[in-house]
């Protein structure tokens, strides 16, 4: 029998989530390390998966759990548990998003299996699969192993996921599955999306960081920028003290830790206590007047210049692009 490596492909009415495409690559990568056949599974919740299925190149099978629209996370976990129990894959992997981490935890708990969240990699040793994970704020890694039977459950840290696609591969074979569900304990009553200005710092895709170098007079431009980019605004402790941003928007050891795709640091020197909060950010753009600022050591794009001059120009460009 072929050992199947299953990855969960998260989607909603608007289509696949970014993490889903990355999980396709993760399936292939894990199948290479562990041995097995890369497969994906999804809940049919209103998206046109059949149009998108050809894009899921590199998966050998795509399991579609039919008619699963508008489900609560508890119901989804129940449906996934039943399917996993029936098919018994070798591994079941989730993306390290809020939803992915929780689904994995719920399904593994329901099946009495070990679950390792936020792994950065898998390794083989003596025929056993080990999961690597960073602990103590990144001071060291730990290699963990499952003591329970297959399937092995894990989620992958978002920073480890890669966006690589192979275009030559065959589209996956689609397997339709019927769902099997029980009544949930907690009732889902409402679902909505908050406006970008209300996004929490740890969920925004883009975060604008405000430092001591930002004068009060520039704050209105910064909020305009955050609207165009759908970004959340946070900043340094000094910016909090200066009254530029509220204290719950402080980023760093004594504030929030980000997990965004992009951080735009404006007038921030890059003190270690601040950098700790942005270590998981995938890309950093920094604007600072002083070319020796330590934030430049970590910035993917470092711009030496006066933000009072750069901000208006950037807004003109962005707002022109929007129209």
């Amino acid at each position: 029998m072929v050992r199947e490596i299953w990855v969960y492909l998260e989607s909603d009415e608007n289509g696949f989530h970014e993490s889903a495409h990355r999980m396709v690559h993760e399936a292939r990568r894990t199948a290479e390390i562990v041995g097995g056949s890369p497969c994906g599974f999804l809940l049919e919740n209103g998206i046109e998966w059949s149009e998108n299925a050809p894009k899921l190149e590199g998966l050998e099978k795509l399991y579609v759990i039919q008619e699963a629209k508008g489900f609560s996370i508890e119901t989804r976990a129940g449906v996934i548990r039943n399917v996993v129990q029936k098919k018994m894959p070798h591994m079941v992997l989730f993306a390290g998003t809020f939803t992915g981490n929780e689904l994995g935890g719920r399904v593994a708990a329901a099946l009495d299996r070990g679950y390792i969240s936020d792994c950065t990699d898998f390794e083989m040793d003596d025929g056993l699969v080990f999961a690597r994970k960073s602990i103590y704020g990144g001071k060291a890694d730990v290699l963990l192993k499952w003591e329970t039977a297959f399937p092995l459950f894990a989620s992958i840290h978002l920073n480890s996921l890669e966006n690589i696609s192979v275009s030559s591969a065959q589209p996956p074979e689609v397997v339709l599955l019927k769902k099997d569900m029980e009544a949930p304990r907690a009732k889902l009553r409402n679902r909505w999306r908050v406006p970008p200005s209300e996004l929490d710092l740890n969920e925004a895709a883009i975060v604008i960081g405000v430092g001591k170098g930002v004068p009060f007079s520039s704050m209105s431009e910064i909020y305009r920028l955050s609207e165009v980019l759908e970004a959340a605004v946070g900043g340094t402790r000094i910016a909090v003290h200066a009254g530029l941003i509220p204290v719950e928007r402080q980023i760093g050891t004594t504030g929030k830790w980000l997990n965004s795709d992009l951080y735009i640091a404006l007038g921030i020197s890059g003190a270690p206590q601040h950098m700790m909060g942005i270590k998981d950010v995938r890309k950093i753009i920094a604007v600072n007047m002083w070319k020796g600022a330590s934030i430049f050591q970590k910035a993917d794009l470092g711009v030496v210049g006066d933000l009072r001059e750069i901000l208006p120009e950037l807004l003109v460009l962005l707002e022109k692009g929007k129209r």
Binding site: H17, L199, V247, L301, L314
Partner: protein, 278 residues
């Protein structure tokens, strides 16, 4: 809906700022136990509920004797009771075993709500809530960003999902809740204030979980500790790398092409826009 009994599950962690890792021996140096800073908002939320509806706050923590000093702090910060539960036979328990120890503790007290953190700051398994809820056969909600009580035993909880999505759940308690750190801003309790002094007169209670653990096997065990090694991303041809680049790769720094730019504001703005869109 009077007098809710709220249990706060609080973890004593190893201070990640102070601990050092010996890469040769592959072990940690001296450890400094601290209360998980991520748990502060659990107690704060419990206090807010008590202020509004009355009731009792019980901090429950699984750990060896050393953590009692840390638990005393929660009494000074406003908890009514603090209980430490442990089984001296436990060696390096995984989250599943901890969830059984806490289950045992909860079976010995009355409660309406159990508040947990979403992820601990040291080992961060992030799996405690579903495990505990399953042990107790209770409903659970993770990522709670706000909550209200609707009727006598009904709770409305708002849950945070990706990128601004929110869900509203209605559930009857008892229930287990995993709170998002953004739910509140913990207050500052001044030393020697009334609350603080009241807490100083109380002491940590003890419970034992001995002979309770149903299954003594772990579900996840530690193979070994090792030096941090971020994933080497695909697309890097390792055989063609220089020694320096190899070292950078081992530190996970390769592939970050750091760019510096200086110029006219308009040119700079274009450069930033390019980077944003990339």
């Amino acid at each position: 809906m009077e007098g809710l009994k709220i249990v706060v599950c609080s973890k004593t962690i190893t201070d990640p700022d102070l601990v050092t890792f010996d890469v040769v021996k592959e072990e940690f140096g001296a450890v400094y136990p601290i209360p998980d800073p991520m748990d502060e908002y659990l107690l704060e939320e419990a206090i807010r509920i008590r202020e509004k509806h009355g009731g009792e706050i019980i901090v429950l923590s699984a750990g060896p004797e050393e953590i009692e000093k840390i638990l005393e702090k929660t009494l000074r910060f406003g908890a009514d009771r603090a209980i430490r539960i442990w089984d001296d036979g436990l060696m390096d328990p995984d989250t599943w075993m901890i969830s059984q120890v806490i289950e045992k503790g909860l079976r010995g007290i009355e409660f309406d709500l159990v508040l947990c953190g979403s992820r601990s700051s040291d080992t961060g398994s992030g799996t405690f809530v579903p495990l505990l809820a399953r042990n107790l056969d209770l409903p659970c909600i993770c990522g709670v960003v706000s909550m209200e009580f609707e009727a006598k035993t009904t709770l409305v909880a708002h849950k945070k999902l990706e990128r601004g999505m929110r869900e509203e759940y209605v559930l009857a308690f008892p229930a287990v809740l995993g709170l998002d750190p953004g739910i509140n801003l913990p207050r500052y309790v001044a030393p020697y204030s009334k609350v603080y002094c009241r807490g100083m007169q109380r002491s940590v209670e003890r419970m034992t979980a001995t002979s309770f653990l149903k299954v003594l096997e772990k579900r996840v065990s530690v193979g070994r500790l090792c030096q941090r090694k971020p994933r080497v991303k695909k697309g890097i041809n390792t055989s063609a790398l220089s020694m320096q680049d190899r070292l950078r790769m081992m530190r996970g720094e390769l592939g970050d092409k750091k760019r510096r730019f200086q110029g006219e504001p308009a040119a700079v703005a274009r450069e930033i826009l390019k980077e944003i869109k990339m």
